[in-house]
């Protein structure tokens, strides 16, 4: 199944035509002509601003809007009671567009203003008076679980937003019979996707039934449904148009629903388009970072290193409202169990409300958080067994044809090869003294099919244009990860064209087929497969039409058709013939990719994706024993994402994902003080700069996946998953001490080195 191992820069560029091609919009982006959300403006547009709670938890006694309303230039002022909106949410309905009688975190939306300019809107906010009655607040999820803790939502007693228990095999017995049991507790803060373009939108509400929302989203079709529901509009009267997206990484799957809703309400009230934009500080304080997690974990092994069981007790910090946090918590609690053969699992996970920033999602849905715990604990076990951590992993790796403990059906899989090659590339057998080495592996769903078990796939349309070019119409989204370029390459391959002859139309819910969007590594695997099928369908129709036009048999020849008498019929001629014959229609092809229904059951057992991608990361670090400063010298990332569509962009995905993972490992993370975000700036939050990163080597083990288009599998999310653990394991190796908290700042490492924990 393994075809070959491609080194970055080694000639092979990906699918035909990939060399020198990657993004149909790259020219606009590099010249500054691409239009992002922040660049948009509409005639007569107003500016919207939000008044936010200064309290982490309080009752609202009264909101007085009258002074703000009378300020010249103000066109609409809204509070929660005036909206008459129903609560909404993503997994459950625990939010209101504006707070009704209670605020639950510092930043909670209390009132909103639309005015002729930003200055006037800000002035109007100052003129709104709100009477609060502060309540006691709870910031620590463990405290929130205690009896007697203040409750955030009456519908969720004990502050548990969601919980789940998973039992597979015989964990208890396995722990009894084990030769070795290792355990530890791991803590990770909240991480923000940190896209550089802040979220913004323009809403144009129609008087009775209708809304056009201009904002860049990874899942515009799904957001459209939510907006229609809350605003009481017909779904087909809500249109979402996405400009170019300045980064997403999961943070723009739903984006900032509250901002869109408030813009829509303000626009409806004012009778004009309303633009709203989060400041960078708001991105950090009210945007939707990923849950923080506390993971208590235990592993049982045989003396020879065979994994027997894993037990975990996980608490995830939901913040004040829940968005996708239940799904994130679920992935976090399960995914790593399918990376190795582990016959018995016993997991409890609780998602807990606290009076802090509500959470959402970031790139790999929590898989990367649990990976840190699982892969750290494996190294700990290796140490106790006196076994090489690489060998211990190789002994237990999942492989092609296996079904994992949770029922995941593994198709193509080069996990052990990824591990071996990562180790070889970092120099595992000749590790230098004075340096630390770490390795970590990962699995991630390559095209999730359980987001909606009845809607698992994707569709696309392909159209032959009068100029002979082919347009692909897709509901999938490009946030910079290269989906459009990949679709062009896939379509070009199916049609024997060059990718530059393919137009991609997406980003508008009125024009594109319904789609789940850019999540669960669906784009290449599922979206791309639909594009392939659409292009193939179109090709068959073009061929029939060519034969009809020629009046004889034809065979395809490099994008055109050769008749049996030797004439060449070009697509332009076929398009013109069909257009005339049908009074204006174009030849179209449809692609429907409907993955097999999953056996996924109530207990969460069953296949969750069309296929799975794998990776192993390894690194070499050095620690300054005086200061605790950590230097990552070299980093190797080896990936099995099936056949690589475009090596240039695949490398870019890996570099970017590793950089984000290194941020998590070394510097990033939310810091809270009494519920207030203490570091709501780029400099405080510390995403890596060019000076912070080591040299990164990328390698691709190209398996041929049976499901993905031409053997390709997803890459965009897994790139970040094994990184934090690889660094943590290298640091633990250098220190000779286990590491169980991220990020590994110099202070933290110093504490481990000098045992300073008693000092603070």
């Amino acid at each position: 199944m393994i075809r070959r191992n491609i080194k970055a820069g080694e000639g092979k560029e990906g699918f035909p035509g990939a060399r020198g091609f990657y993004d149909p919009e790259v020219w606009a982006k590099v010249t500054g002509r691409a239009r992002y959300g922040i660049d948009l403006a509409l005639p007569g547009m107003l500016q919207g601003k939000i008044l936010r709670s200064p309290h982490p938890h309080a009752l609202i006694r009264n909101v007085d809007l009258s002074r703000a309303r009378s300020l010249p230039g103000v066109r609409a002022v809204l509070s929660g009671t005036g909206l008459g909106a129903k609560p909404y949410g993503i997994v459950f309905d625990d939010e209101n567009p504006l707070a009704l009688d209670r605020v639950r975190y510092i930043g909670d939306e209390v009132a909103a203003v639309a005015a002729v300019d930003e200055q006037t809107a800000l002035e109007a906010l100052q003129m709104i008076s709100v009477e609060y009655e502060p309540l006691s607040a709870v910031f620590d999820p463990e405290e929130a679980l205690l009896k007697g803790a203040v409750t955030l939502h009456d519908d969720f007693p004990g502050n548990i937003a969601w919980e789940n228990r998973i039992n597979r095999g015989e964990a208890e017995a396995a722990f009894k019979d084990a030769d070795l049991v290792v355990e530890d507790t791991y803590a990770l803060p909240s991480f923000h996707p940190g896209y550089i373009e802040p979220i913004s939108c323009i809403a144009e509400s129609e008087k009775f039934d209708g809304l056009t929302l201009h904002t860049a989203l990874q899942s515009p079709h799904i957001v459209r449904e939510i907006l229609a529901g809350v605003l009481g509009l017909s779904i087909s009267r809500v249109r979402v148009i996405s400009p170019v997206m300045g980064g997403g990484f999961g943070g723009r799957v739903y984006g900032n629903l509250k901002l869109y809703l408030l813009a829509a309400f303000l626009s409806r009230a004012a009778g004009a388009p309303v633009k709203m934009q989060l400041t960078r500080e708001e991105e950090f304080t009210v945007g939707r970072p990923m849950v923080a997690a506390m993971i208590k974990m235990k592993m049982a092994l045989k003396e020879d290193g065979t994994f027997l069981a894993r037990q975990a007790d996980i608490i995830t910090d939901n913040g004040a409202y829940s968005a996708q946090a239940p799904w994130v918590s679920k992935t976090l609690s399960e995914r790593n169990d399918s990376l190795y053969h582990i016959p018995s699992i016993s997991t409890r996970v609780r998602l807990v409300y606290t009076n802090k920033v509500p959470t959402g999602q970031y790139r790999a849905y929590g898989n990367q958080l649990a990976n840190f715990a699982c892969e750290s604990l494996i190294d700990r076990a290796a140490g106790k067994l006196g076994m090489d951590p690489l060998r211990l992993r190789l002994k237990n790796c999942i492989g092609p044809g296996d079904t994992s403990v949770h029922g995941l059906q593994i198709k193509s899989c080069a996990l052990s090869r990824c591990l071996q090659d990562a180790a070889d590339a970092i120099g595992w057998t000749e590790r230098k003294k004075g340096r630390g080495y770490g390795i970590s592996a990962a699995i991630h769903a390559g095209g999730s099919i359980v987001f909606n078990p009845d809607f698992r796939g994707a569709s696309a349309r392909a159209r032959l244009e009068l100029d002979g070019r082919v347009t692909i119409v897709t509901g999938e989204q490009d946030y910079g990860q290269g989906a459009h370029g990949a679709f062009a390459l896939i379509a070009a391959r199916a049609l024997s064209r060059v990718p530059g002859e393919i137009n991609i139309v997406s980003r508008d819910t009125i024009l594109t087929p319904f789609s789940i969007g850019a999540l669960g590594m669906r784009q290449t695997t599922i979206g791309g497969r639909a594009v392939q099928l659409a292009a193939e369908d179109l090709l068959a129709r073009i061929r029939d039409c060519a034969a009809e036009l020629a009046g004889e048999e034809v065979v395809p020849e490099g994008g055109a058709f050769r008749t049996s008498s030797g004439r060449l019929i070009e697509p332009v001629g076929i398009a013109a013939f069909y257009c005339a014959k049908t009074s204006g229609l174009a030849l179209t092809g449809e692609g429907r990719y409907v993955p097999e229904k999953s056996d996924y059951d109530q207990s969460g057992y069953g296949n969750i994706a069309v296929t799975y991608s794998f990776a192993a990361h390894a690194c070499e670090v050095e620690i300054d024993r005086e200061t605790g400063a950590l230097t990552v010298h070299r980093f190797v990332a080896v990936h099995d994402s099936g056949r690589i569509v475009n090596l240039l962009t695949a490398r870019g995905q890996v570099y970017g994902g590793v950089a984000q993972g290194l941020g998590m490992a070394c510097s990033e993370g939310y810091i809270f003080e009494e519920g207030r975000v203490a570091n709501p700036t780029f400099s405080g939050y510390r995403i890596p700069t060019a000076l912070d990163l080591p040299s990164i080597e990328t390698l691709f083990i190209q398996t041929d996946d049976p499901e993905g288009p031409y053997g390709a599998k997803g890459l965009g999310e897994i790139v970040q998953v094994p990184t934090p653990a690889a660094v943590a394991n290298a640091v633990a190796n250098a220190l000779g001490e286990p590491v169980n908290e991220l990020p590994l700042t110099a202070e933290k490492i110093s504490r481990l080195l000098h045992g300073w924990e008693c000092a603070d």
Binding site: G20, Y22, D23, E25, V26, W27, A28, K29, V30, T31, G32, R33, A34, R35, Y36, I38, D39, P193, G194, Y195, I196, E197, P198, V244, M245, G246, G247, G248, F249, T279, R280, Y479, G480, Q481, G482, L648, T649, R651, G652, V654, Y655, G656, G657, V658, A659, Q660, T681, F682, S683, I687, T689, A690, L691, L693, I696
Partner: protein, 157 residues
């Protein structure tokens, strides 16, 4: 705020605008003059998306008061591809895959432009330093650094 006339040279053309001299050069460029190629990611000098050249030096336009441009040369991303063809730095960005979402790209390109004006053959460390004020969340910087090195080579020939 009191308005004042600010005159400067913008991408090779003389401009005179009445504006609040203490408002940012970024908002003057984007909101008043319609040059939207320069981006805004933080408004406080931390992301570099707003990088423009002020008399050849890379600055964060969000931190520069508009009045400071008086009598100086301001160069933005729009100046680099005048006449429709890409500047060698832009060409290199495209060839090396240095553009993902592209939001940091104009700022990155301008930082690279300033660097290559002052140092036509920078080493990897100089390149990293020159773009260390430009955050990119997509790329891990590797292909951006490769692009700037390649652009230096292109400009040499």
């Amino acid at each position: 705020m009191d308005k004042q006339v600010v005159s400067f040279n913008l991408n090779g053309e003389a401009v005179r605008v009445r504006c609040d001299p203490f408002s940012s050069l970024l908002s003057l460029l984007r909101d008043r003059l319609g040059l939207l190629g320069t981006k805004a990611g933080c408004g406080r000098g931390e992301c570099g998306a707003c990088t423009v050249l002020l008399d050849g030096l890379a600055v964060n336009a969000c931190l520069v008061p508009a009045g400071k441009a008086e009598g100086l040369n301001v160069e933005t991303i729009e100046n680099l591809s005048r006449g429709g063809s890409l500047h060698p730095i832009q060409e290199a960005f495209v060839e090396k895959g240095a553009v993902q979402c592209g939001f940091c790209t104009p700022g990155m390109v301008m930082s690279a432009h300033a660097l290559l004006k002052s140092d036509p053959a920078p080493g990897r460390e100089e390149i990293r330093k020159a773009i260390s004020g430009n955050l990119c969340r997509c790329s891990g910087y590797v292909q951006i650094e490769e692009a700037i090195a390649a652009a230096a080579d292109k400009l040499k020939d």
